[in-house]
Every structure is written in structure tokens, then in C-alpha cells.
């Protein structure tokens, strides 16, 4: 099975330097929606991972590296240039587990040899400030998670909230990209049909 398209949503927390501890960027969650053809049928696969305060922060880094091990033919991101990629680089480079960080960078490097689309480019690019507002404008239901809510979920070990949010964001990114395409009607119909099934619930 080759993955045709994947959308990625990530969440991170910046930890400022404190005493002897250098500043770090923690990758606290990631979700990936894969859209692929298998034996002529369009399939979807939604997965997410998160790390909270009592977990090893390298776990999500390793999970994301595994998720990108087979690079998708097309990778869809939101605000890739100025938010997603810089935060992933910061998380990898400041990880205590340098091997995990290097592995994520290697898989990212391979993923970027394929087609990468920043969905935000069609919505103002670096000026596209609010994913929520743009998703709502296109009639896509999406409940945002503020930085404070993310920090609280990380602090209290609430994996479900982080994963559910990122999974919804990955799905909304895919639907937003579809909404901007002229030939996407059959894909939109198949996506709607999949969303109505229990399979559309993120695997935790």
C-alpha cells in the first residue's frame, strides 16, 4: 500500500531556559490522516499520538518519525513554512534523545523530497492567522484548542483532548484542501461518507 496523500497536525510547547536547563521545544502531540488507494478503493486512516508531563518526550518524536517512514506522495500541512517546520526542527534539535531527534529529521528530509503543499498558501499564507476562522468559513466544524488548554492537557495527562484536537485538525486540513480544488467532488463525497463511519474516530 502506498500512501497517496497525508495531512499532518502537530502541537508543541516551548519551555524557556530555567537555571541549568536550556530552552526546549516539546513535541506534545501529532496526528496523521492518510488517504490512499488500496485495490482500487479509496481508504482513510487517522492516527494520533501525544506525550504528557509524565511521559518520555521522545515518544511522540519517534512516533512521528515512524509515521513518516514511508513518505507520502503528497504531504499537506497548515502554515508549514513559519510554524510547523520550524517547530519540528526545534523539537528535534532540542530533544534530550538526540538519536530520536535525528531520526525525525531524516524522515522529514525524505518526506520533503516528495510533493509538499502548504494549504495555508491559498488562504493568505503567512497572513492566514486563524485556522479555526478559515475552517468555519468553509463550513468545516472544528473546535480549536488554545495554548493554555494545550498546556493544561499536557500538565494533567489528558491525552484524549490533545489527540482528538489534532486528529480533527488533520481532517479539517484535508477537507480545506479539497474545498479549494475544482475536481474534488468525488473525493469530498467519499470523505463525507468515511466521516459518517466509526472508522473516522481517531485511534488512540
Amino acid at each position: 500500500m502506498s500512501i497517496e496523500t497525508a495531512t499532518l497536525a502537530t502541537a508543541w510547547i516551548h519551555q524557556p531556559a530555567l537555571g541549568q536547563r536550556p530552552a526546549r521545544t516539546l513535541l506534545v502531540g501529532a496526528a496523521k490522516l492518510s488517504i490512499f488507494y488500496s485495490f482500487g478503493t479509496l481508504g482513510f486512516d487517522l492516527q494520533a499520538h501525544s506525550t504528557t508531563v509524565t511521559d518520555d518526550p521522545a515518544e511522540t518524536i519517534s512516533w512521528l518519525a515512524d509515521a513518516l517512514h514511508v513518505p507520502p506522495g503528497r504531504l499537506l500541512l497548515w502554515r508549514a513554512e513559519d510554524i510547523v517546520v520550524p517547530s519540528l526542527l526545534a523539537a528535534a534539535e532540542t530533544a534530550r534523545d538526540a538519536v530520536a531527534g535525528a531520526r525525525l529529521l531524516r524522515e522529514l528530509d525524505l518526506a520533503f523530497t516528495r510533493e509538499v503543499i502548504d494549504v495555508a498558501e491559498a488562504h493568505g499564507g503567512a497572513a492566514a492567522t486563524s485556522f479555526d476562522a478559515i475552517a468555519h468559513r468553509h463550513g468545516l466544524p472544528f473546535v480549536s484548542m488554545s495554548k493554555a488548554e494545550l498546556a493544561e492537557a499536557h500538565r494533567t495527562g489528558c491525552h484524549w483532548a490533545i489527540r482528538k484536537h489534532l486528529a480533527a485538525r488533520a481532517v479539517a486540513t484535508w477537507r480545506l484542501w479539497l474545498a479549494g480544488r475544482e475536481d474534488a467532488e468525488p473525493l469530498i463525497e467519499k470523505t463525507e461518507a468515511w466521516l459518517a463511519t466509526p472508522d473516522a474516530e481517531v485511534r488512540l
Binding site: P86, D118, E121
Partner: protein, 270 residues
């Protein structure tokens, strides 16, 4: 032996780059040919400045039109100030037109202490401090128009108007359209400079990274909305994902070096 790091072949990313373009008016010639350069008076100038800071690129894009309290002398003074602050000045046919027109305008307005402008107007054609892209692209042979190069590379140019329309716009008092046009040309010239530098150095990151940053600058600066065609142009669309790829590859290189260092330290300690 000639130092390979000198001259226009010495391509490295300069600390700061000033791209500029001027628009002029001149009395028409009886045969309709292009009037001799001394008869041209500058009425507008566009600046696109790029500089590197903390591994990224920053930009300042602006224009001045001789109107509403701005005189020809102000325009010339500003050109001199900006040239003095730039590591490299670039333009299109700037060595044989723009700089000469500005130098003559300085003398006409009795401005004698504009050293940076004087230096650039007298720049060595093979020197690295002034990159006249019309010369460089034609290898100092027969020049072609800016648009013909930009069209091939996928840089938008002459979008709203063209140089031949400036006199009519000036007569009609349409200074805003002249301002937009001269700014477009300065930005197109800057893009062409990045393309030239990358091709000359054989390093695509010298075009991908600054072009991606330029796109973000235009997107996030409401006053530059009229330059949005650059964000959607073929060259920038090609550059943006590759700039991210270059950043990832650089980070991977740093991490690989870090792991190697740690391995060496462990081996030394054991």
C-alpha cells in the same frame, strides 16, 4: 593568479542587497527614439532591500515619487543613503542608465557629497559591489529587456503598467500607479538577483530561502498587497517547499555532527 573570490563570480550571499529602479520623464525625440540619457529626469525610485539576520532574511520595500513635498533632490539623497548602507547594489541596466541619471540629477540639484552614489555610478563593470544584471545576464554582450529574462524564469514583471506609460501617468498625476510600478520593478530585479546568485554559485538555497522569505514578507505586509503576484509566481511556488527542505537538511546535518561529537567523546572517555 586572479583571486576567484573577487568580481561578479565571487558569489556568496551578501549581508545586505539593495535593488533599485528609477522612472524618468524626458522630452520626446523627433524620430520617436529613446531620448539620450542626460535628458531624463528621475520622477520615481523603487527600493527593495534584503538583508540576512539570524539565519533568515528581512526586507524593506518602498518607493518615492517626486510629488507631494518630495523633490528630485530628496529622491537622489535617499538613493545615496541606501546605497551607502548596502553590501551590494543591483539594478537592471543600472550602470549605464539609472546610476548615470541619478549622478547627473545630483549635480543639477547641487548635491556634491553623495559618495555612495558617486561610487556606484563609477562602479567597475566587473566589480562585486554593483551588480548590473543586464550586463551579467548577457555576459557584458548585447543586452535584452528585463521582462524577457523574468518571463523565462517565472518572475512577474510589468504587471500594472510599463516604462513607456510613465510619462502619460505623470502628466495625468497618477503618482500612485507610478509608485506601484517602480516598486514592482525593484522587487522583480531583486528576485532576478537571487536567481543569478544561486545559478552563479551553484547553490539553490541562495534563491529558495530568500524567495520564500520574500513571499512571507509580502503576505504579512498589507501595504504590499499590490505585489501579491510575486507570491503566486512560478519561481516562488517552486522555491517555498525547497526552502523548507533546505532548512530540514541543515538541521539534520547539525544533529548528525552532534551525534558524531558525542560518539567521539564517549570513545575518548572509555
Amino acid at each position: 593568479m586572479r583571486d576567484p573570490m573577487r568580481g561578479p563570480g565571487s558569489v556568496r550571499a551578501p549581508g545586505s542587497i539593495l535593488s533599485y529602479d528609477i522612472e524618468t520623464i524626458s522630452p520626446p525625440t523627433p524620430d520617436g527614439s529613446f531620448p539620450p540619457w542626460p535628458t531624463h529626469r528621475p520622477v520615481a525610485i523603487g527600493f527593495a532591500t534584503a538583508w540576512q539576520v539570524a539565519g533568515g532574511w528581512s526586507f524593506d520595500i518602498s518607493a518615492m515619487v517626486v510629488a507631494d513635498g518630495v523633490s528630485e533632490a530628496d529622491l537622489v539623497r535617499e538613493a545615496d543613503r541606501r546605497m551607502g548602507n548596502a553590501g551590494v547594489v543591483t539594478g537592471y541596466n543600472s550602470r549605464q542608465f539609472d546610476a548615470l541619471v541619478l549622478r547627473l540629477a545630483a549635480q543639477r540639484t547641487r548635491l556634491w557629497s553623495l559618495k555612495a552614489l558617486a561610487d556606484h555610478a563609477a562602479a567597475n563593470r566587473f566589480g562585486a559591489e554593483h551588480a548590473d544584471l543586464a550586463d551579467l545576464y548577457s555576459s557584458h554582450g548585447r543586452k535584452v529587456g528585463l521582462a524577457s529574462l523574468c518571463d523565462e524564469i517565472g518572475i512577474p514583471v510589468k504587471m500594472s503598467t510599463s516604462g513607456g506609460d510613465v510619462a502619460a501617468l505623470w502628466e495625468a498625476g497618477e503618482t500612485d500607479r507610478i509608485r506601484d510600478y517602480v516598486m514592482e520593478d525593484a522587487v522583480a530585479t531583486l528576485c532576478l538577483f537571487f536567481a543569478w546568485t544561486a545559478a552563479r554559485a551553484g547553490d539553490e538555497t541562495l534563491v529558495t530561502r530568500p524567495m520564500a522569505a520574500l513571499a512571507r514578507h509580502i503576505e504579512t505586509t498589507p501595504a504590499l498587497h499590490h505585489l501579491h503576484a510575486f507570491v503566486d509566481c512560478a519561481l516562488i511556488r517552486w522555491c517555498r517547499p525547497r526552502a523548507m527542505k533546505a532548512d530540514i537538511a541543515a538541521a539534520l546535518e547539525r544533529m548528525t555532527a552532534k551525534l558524531k561529537r558525542q560518539e567521539d567523546e564517549r570513545a575518548f572517555a572509555s
